[in-house]
């Protein structure tokens, strides 16, 4: 890192020298002689260029050895002009095709976006890299209309959830299909439950620095060619290729510092303890008391006799100790500054008929929680060779090795946030040390007798103990590769074959160490998991192109695809460790081994035809027939098809260009079939367990000297039929003011029918779930992408890009009689789907209300709990928007991405618990309040009168018993309704300042250099009381809106240096 900076500095100093060059200037006008403002003038083969000013004039220093200028302007044909020794070049530019944006569509085919009849959006690879996100999915956040990204947390390597146009599936994945160089890859994640650690989603294995283009396909018209697997949209990634010429070397190095970005407000006024006989009483760590409903800190002082729990001594009543007042410790000094080093190098070029791109990347990340790490090493080779005039072959191959040490979180006595936020203000987890120093010093978390040192004497893990004694490591080795061959049978007919392989192994080892505290003896637990995943794709297709008439062009593709998927997870769980601190499976006394296999195969036959008439009418037709192994053998094929049309009306009729430069209308209709999850056609027996408690683990067989099997609780279905989603989409793409103002609008309406779900059935049937064709899910939304260039002149340019998303994703019906399907969460509060409600609601318990919606209050003045649970909150936002402002001044660029989210609720289970334990600021603020709840009292005759009975929320009533406190009386963490909050936010997602060194190519070996300063997530404005609401307890699962001791999110500051040789 230091060396790179030194080199960079030296180069900067060299720039003062004058290089041999000449100045070329001139004026650019349109055919009417009007000046074109902001036209691009670029020296071909370099990134050196300028733009025309308000008079259409430009001036550019052209180094020796360069002889061609490239003029481009939106809506006009790009022209390459040979300088031929001139110093003045005036150019009249002709209007041409306005949008030259090349997109990659299904099948890996490059097309001009202007010729498509459906919505598709490119993300600039620079924007992906500049986001400085470890996880590619996070880097897409706020950049694409219709795309929603929710990260699970700020833990290194944690997963992120991506949805294109909402959710359609209840049991299956709602992830879009990720396609890298034509090969669909796996983006699953395994193990993101309500407890455990934050696991990665596997798109994290892709190095963002290798990406040359990234296109998002949204609706079925765009994705029908991929069939079922792209039912949720597709992210099409093309990686970088070499170009003929000398080797080009590029080195990028960055360093990021991460900090925790938002934490709940904690109280620092009251001590550990609880109310006994009406008196707040101090109960210290040795008592195992968990509450912080004790006396005021100001009523306590130290006795001066150091203990292992506090070096300052024990707390005693003021006036009876050594006079040193009790103090509140800052629990959040646990968090450290995280950091991420990312170094990438690539070489590309071409020799004769072969081009190549080779890259290597190493990323090392240390999280804000001590000892949390993630690293990724990645290597790529892309090469292409023309073996003859007719035959070319290519290889795209990437190897990655990733993994780290992950820290326990969530609903888990071992979780960091659970222990940290419950810790009473009067206990110092670090025992005089903070952060990494405390984590590295055993005296902060272990007592002399070997017991854990913690505020409840072992009941919840001291977070420093968690960081050291509950390791969870993973290592993934992955190869994604494809070979490709193209044989040109004729000029306009080619035969293509692509074989893609995506295979990885994921090895995980985790342990919960032995613990000996009397309050919580832990016998120890060790788990060893090996996951192997293999996806094979084989594609053979013919590509035929022909001009049918002068005006009509046709492009036809017919192909055949086989997808074979084989997933295998082998887990050995071992209980009761023998040796403390030895985290190998051999150290467990009792072992339970399990294996999960998922196999499926699809054969697909597909065809697509693109027809264009003149330059204004475009028609695209696709059809695909799939045969899937997961459906009953007699009914295992289904069709997907789509038709889309684009009409560039500005080419068809004469419209004043002062009003509109370019306008295209789009319409499409598509239907995508979908299959089932594997193994849903035949009921089976599974190895037995005895359970049915929810608080405790199960008894597992083999045991008691025998094996045992029980009938699976999933009722299989041999009569399944394919499900389908139909989508209708219209849109318009408009450009005004010579392209300086652009608007792209899309409306879509999609309906999923016969959705195959493992529905919940009444357990009384003897099954808990049945696989049925049921559910109708409707999804309707609008997406707007707008761009504007308010200022554009020679030195200064200001661009605004806005994307806006609004959709409604409603579950119209589930199976007959079925009112609810739980997807994730807890017994008390969960993320469910409910008929008539948005996809995923927060389901839980609330207060009783009358028909007016008034809360019903009991005669004692307390609100009455409703015995029946209901949907309590909607985690779906009303709308979201991303607004990017980019300012360029000479060689400087400043870019800010604002992320706006309106509405959407989240259950702050964390809040409920810290209010209950009395560690939150709210619990301190409320402690002396007497309130009259706003509600009505049931008169018993069908009428209601206003409630006017005052109640003390907590200690204001000395006669009240502890369990009558508002935050305690409704049970552990309160009832769901008390903890559901709006998550609307405004955040500065990215702020980037970039500087590109100008015209240094004459140094010979150095082609270019730039430096970027990036801030990520620097500012967040939200009323949500917990941590950053952009986290999700269950990672990238289908259920969201739950916050229960999630790991917090982070903000980061990054410096990046890029050198091109």
């Amino acid at each position: 890192m230091k060396k790179v900076l030194l080199l960079f500095t030296m180069l900067t100093l060299c720039i003062g020298t004058t290089f041999a060059q000449r100045t070329v200037s001139g004026t650019v006008t349109d055919t009417d002689g009007l000046p074109l403002i902001g036209a691009n003038v670029l020296i071909m083969g370099t990134s050196i260029g300028t733009i025309t000013d308000i008079d259409g004039t430009y001036s550019l220093d052209v180094p020796d050895g360069y002889n061609t200028l490239v003029f481009s302007y939106t809506g006009f044909s790009t022209e390459e002009v040979d300088i031929a020794g001139r110093t003045t070049i005036d150019l009249v530019m002709a209007e041409g095709e306005l949008l030259e944006e090349i997109v990659v569509t299904a099948g890996g085919l490059e097309k001009n976006k202007a010729r498509l009849g459906y919505a598709i959006q490119n993300v600039e690879p620079d924007d992906v890299v500049a986001a400085k996100e470890v996880n590619l999915v996070n880097a897409l956040n706020s950049k694409i209309a219709g795309v929603q990204v929710v990260s699970s947390s700020g833990s290194p390597g944690s997963s992120a959830n991506i949805r294109i146009r909402g959710s359609k599936s209840i049991n299956g994945t709602n992830d879009p299909l990720f396609v890298v160089d034509g090969v669909p890859i796996d983006n699953s994640s395994v193990g993101n439950g309500v407890d455990g650690v934050d696991q990665s989603n596997r798109a994290i294995d892709i190095n963002p620095n290798d990406i040359a283009s990234l296109t998002v396909l949204k609706g079925p018209a765009a994705t029908a060619l991929y069939g079922v697997r792209a039912a949720n949209g597709a992210i099409i990634i093309t990686t970088k290729k070499g170009e003929a010429g000398k080797p080009k070397i590029s080195i990028t190095a960055s360093y990021a510092m991460d900090q925790v970005n938002k934490l709940p407000e904690m109280q620092s006024t009251y001590a550990q303890g609880r109310v006994l006989s009406g008196v707040p009483t101090y109960l210290g760590p040795s008592t195992g008391n968990g509450f912080s409903w004790g006396p005021l800190l100001s009523d306590l002082e130290f006795d001066g006799v150091p203990t292992e729990f506090d070096q300052n001594g024990s707390l005693v009543a003021a006036g009876t100790g050594n006079g040193v007042p009790a103090r509140a410790y800052d629990q959040f000094d646990y968090f450290i500054n995280g950091n991420t080093y990312d170094l990438n190098a690539s070489v590309s070029g071409g020799i004769d008929a072969t081009n190549y791109f080779v890259s290597a990347g190493r990323l090392t990340s240390n999280g804000i929680v001590p000892n949390s790490t993630f690293s990724r090493n990645s290597f790529r080779l892309n090469t292409n060779t023309d073996l003859s005039d007719k035959l070319s072959i290519g290889v795209s191959a990437a190897y990655s090795n990733s993994g780290g040490n992950r820290i326990q979180r969530g609903s888990n006595l071992n979780g960091v946030m659970l222990g940290l936020l419950r810790t009473t203000p009067t206990f110092d987890n670090g025992n005089g040390l903070v952060g990494q120093a405390a984590a590295d010093n055993v005296s902060s978390y272990v007592l002399e007798n070997g017991d854990m040192r913690s505020y409840r004497n072992g009941i919840y893990d001291n977070p420093y103990w968690t960081a050291n004694r509950n390791p969870s490591q993973d290592e993934v080795d992955r190869i994604i590769g494809s070979i490709f061959a193209q044989y040109d049978v004729m000029d306009n007919l080619s035969l293509n074959y692509r074989l893609g392989v995506d295979t990885y192994t994921d090895k995980r080892n985790s342990a919960i160490d032995i613990q000996t505290n009397a309050f919580r003896p832990e016998p120890g637990f060790i788990s060893q998991t090996k996951i192997t995943n293999k996806d094979i794709n084989s594609d053979l297709f013919l590509n035929y192109e022909r001009d049918l008439t002068d005006d009509i062009n046709m492009n036809l593709i017919v192909g055949y695809n086989i997808w074979d998927h084989h997933y295998n997870r082998q887990t050995t769980d071992g209980t009761t460790m023998s040796i403390p601190g030895f985290y190998h499976i051999s150290n467990a006394t009792d072992l339970v081994a399990t294996e999960v296999i998922d196999r499926r195969r699809i054969h697909g036959l597909y065809a697509t035809a693109d027809l264009s008439y003149s330059d204004f009418l475009f028609l695209n037709l696709t059809a695909r027939r799939d045969q899937s192994s997961t459906l009953p053998i007699d009914n295992n094929s289904y069709e997907s098809y789509s038709a889309s049309m684009g009409l560039t009306f500005t080419e068809l009729v004469e419209i004043d260009r002062n009003i509109i430069d370019y306008g295209k209308l789009r319409a499409s209709y598509g239907k995508v079939g979908n299959d089932a999850l594997a193994y849903r056609t035949q009921s089976v027996f599974v190895q037995s367990e005895s359970g049915g408690d929810g608080f405790i683990t199960t008894v597992q067989f083999p045991n008691f000297g025998t094996n045992s099997f029980e009938r699976s609780n999933l009722l299989a279905n041999s009569l399944l039929t394919p499900e389908s989603t139909t989508t209708f989409e219209i849109g318009a793409d408009l450009k005004f003011l010579k392209g300086r103002l652009g608007l792209d609008f899309t409306y879509y309406n999609s309906k999923s029918e016969d959705v195959i779900i493992d529905v919940d059935v009444s357990a009384v049937t003897g099954f808990t779930n049945a696989t049925l064709n049921s559910a109708v899910i409707n999804n309707e939304g609008i997406e707007i992408v707008a761009s504007a260039t308010p200022v554009s002149n020679r030195n200064f340019n200001w661009d605004i890009d806005v994307n806006y998303t609004k959709y409604e994703n409603i579950v119209e019906s589930l199976a007959p009689g079925l009112e609810d399907i739980g997807m994730a969460g807890f017994v008390s509060t969960s993320a469910d789907v409910v008929p008539g409600q948005p996809f995923s609601v927060i389901y839980g318990n609330g207060f009783q209300r009358n028909d007016n919606g008034d809360m019903i209050i009991g005669s004692d003045g307390w609100p009455l709990q409703d015995p029946i649970k209901k949907p309590m909150g909607d985690p779906n936002p009303d709308w979201t928007a991303g607004v990017r402002n980019t300012f360029s001044y000479k060689d400087f660029t400043l870019s800010a991405l604002l992320d706006i989210r309106q509405g959407g609720e989240m259950w702050c289970g964390t809040c409920g618990i810290i209010n209950y334990f009395g560690t939150s600021q709210l619990s301190a603020d409320e402690r002396n309040d007497v309130v009259v709840f706003d509600g009505v009292v049931d008169n018993g005759d069908g009428t209601f009168s206003p409630n006017n009975t005052p109640v003390a929320l907590a200690e204001a009533d000395p006669t009240a018993s502890f369990s009558s406190f508002y935050r305690v009386r409704y049970g552990f963490g309160g009832i769901s309704e008390m903890n559901i909050f709006d998550t609307s936010w405004l955040r500065l997602r990215e702020l980037t300042l970039g500087y590109t060194l100008p015209q240094i190519e004459s140094l010979g070996f150095l082609r270019g250099a730039s430096i970027f300063l990036t801030g990520r997530n620097l500012w967040l404005n939200t009323d949500y009381p917990g941590i950053d609401p952009e986290t999700n307890l269950t990672g990238d699962s289908n259920g969201f809106g739950l916050d229960y001791f999630n790991m917090p999110n982070t903000k980061s500051y990054t410096v990046t240096v890029r050198l091109d040789f």
Binding site: P521, P523, V686, S690, F695, V699, F709, T768, D866
Partner: protein, 452 residues
């Protein structure tokens, strides 16, 4: 075209690999069998039934009966009867209907096909007991339409009275099937309780009949059936239908599992601790750290008989038979011999000496004393019978929690039942609504039919 297509597939298969499996073969889960023998089904039936003795419905019964006491977390709320419809959800789903009852149904059907009456008889005995306990917890429950899979996706609820009648009929069926069985009834393994001993199972069946006749005794006013069945049941603790759990974390008793995995959240009610002061059984029921009485001794150590991993848990016991006889005797006259026998059995099952001295210290053998002694004797392995006895007799006298009133329990009195599981509201709403309506709303404070 067809030939071309198959050639194409062949080519692609050659280029890829492992195409030898057909699509149909691919969709067969290699990790799970499609059929297994009864000898592999029965072990789980027995372990699950025994496991249920220490799971949530029984711990909650212990809490509201003021034997156990919530110290922390959800258990604190249970002290005050905050028992929402989520509390019994896991028990209802995977502990009961899609748990042990499901497996019993599978075994009964398979035993009929395979002509192995031993398994049918044992499965019916376990099934009847699980239904009987559930009816006592919830009142009306699905019975006649239950466990039918897709045939009845939304099963109706039967009245508690009908379920108790069905339980008795099922036990009679089991007794007759087992009595009539020849050559061990086709037993070929898997009986972790009696290892195929048909006579022992017949005695257990009579024991369960006695238990459920007691449940309905307030309505029938009749002890004779219960006593008659108890006399045909086990005659000593050696004949108890007990399940031996193990010390391992994968094979230990639920009550101990809770102590290990939810540490320090559950203790002993101070009143029960005081009641047991001086009783030789106190040291095997509870221990104190000086300030709090705990039901589980840390690190699975100490003397606890029931709250230990390797507990030997009776599903039906001679202790209960002896107390049934004592209660019947006390209801009509002198019960001193029967009470002495019952208390002796209680000390015996716990391995505690000093029964005679203890019996001598009792003031009388009145009905009240018998029920109070049953309350003490049933601790730990028979919480559901403590709950059932108290609801029938009101003995011992218990004071409700001061904070016990709320939306779920308007009167604030000690609960008489549990709310139906939320999964029923979600998947079987019309039927559960009808059941609530038929039982006066079925909130916590509404007595079930048997205790009205």
């Amino acid at each position: 075209m067809k030939i071309l297509k198959y050639n194409l597939i062949f080519l692609l298969c050659f280029l890829t690999f492992s195409c030898s499996d057909s699509l149909e073969e691919i969709n067969i889960d290699p990790t799970n069998p499609t059929d297994v023998g009864l000898n592999l089904i029965l072990p789980e039936i027995l372990s699950s039934s025994a496991f249920n003795e220490g799971t949530n419905p029984n711990r909650v019964a212990g809490i509201i009966m003021q034997q156990l006491f919530g110290i922390d977390a959800q258990q604190l709320a249970y002290n005050d009867y905050r028992l929402g419809e989520d509390v019994m959800n896991n028990y209802w789903r995977t502990g009961l209907y899609a748990g042990v009852l499901r497996s019993c149904k599978v075994a009964i059907d398979k035993a009929a096909e395979d002509s192995r009456p031993f398994y049918s008889g044992v499965a019916k005995i376990v099934m009847a007991n699980e239904y009987g306990k559930a009816a006592s917890f919830f009142g009306d429950i699905p019975f006649s339409q239950a466990l039918q899979g897709t045939d009845v996706l939304q099963p109706a609820y039967d009245s508690q009275e009908a379920v108790y009648a069905g339980v008795q009929a099922m036990l009679s069926e089991a007794i007759s099937e087992l009595s009539g069985a020849s050559e061990g009834g086709g037993y070929f393994g898997g009986d972790l309780v009696f290892d195929g001993d048909i006579d022992a199972w017949i005695k257990a069946a009579h024991g369960f009949k006695a238990r459920y006749y007691m449940h309905t005794s307030k309505r029938t006013g009749d002890y004779s059936q219960a006593v008659s069945e108890a006399n045909q049941a086990m005659s000593s603790n050696a004949e108890n239908a007990s399940f031996q759990f193990l010390s391992s974390q994968t094979g230990n008793f639920s009550l101990a599992k809770f102590g290990i995995e939810r540490p320090s959240t559950l203790g002993i009610h101070p009143q029960f601790a005081a009641m047991m002061d001086g009783d030789p059984r106190q040291s095997v029921y509870m221990y104190t750290d000086g300030t709090t009485w705990w039901y589980f001794d840390s690190a699975d150590g100490g003397n606890m008989i029931w709250a230990q991993s390797a507990a030997n848990v009776p599903m039906i016991s001679y202790v209960e038979m002896a107390f049934i006889k004592a209660e019947a005797a006390a209801a009509s006259g002198n019960a001193s011999a029967e009470l002495a026998e019952a208390i002796t059995a209680s000390f015996d099952i716990l391995g505690v000496s000093g029964a005679d001295t203890y019996i001598a210290s009792l003031p009388d053998a009145s009905y009240n004393t018998v029920m109070t002694e049953a309350y003490k004797a049933y601790y730990g392995f028979n919480f559901h019978e403590v709950f059932s006895n108290w609801r029938r007799t009101g003995i011992p006298s218990l004071t409700p929690s001061a904070n016990g009133s709320g939306g779920l329990n308007p009167s604030g009195s000690i609960p008489q039942r549990y709310l139906y599981a939320e999964s029923e509201t979600q998947t079987n709403s019309a039927n559960v609504e009808a059941a609530r309506a038929a039982q006066g709303g079925a909130l916590l404070d509404v007595p079930t039919w048997a205790n009205q």
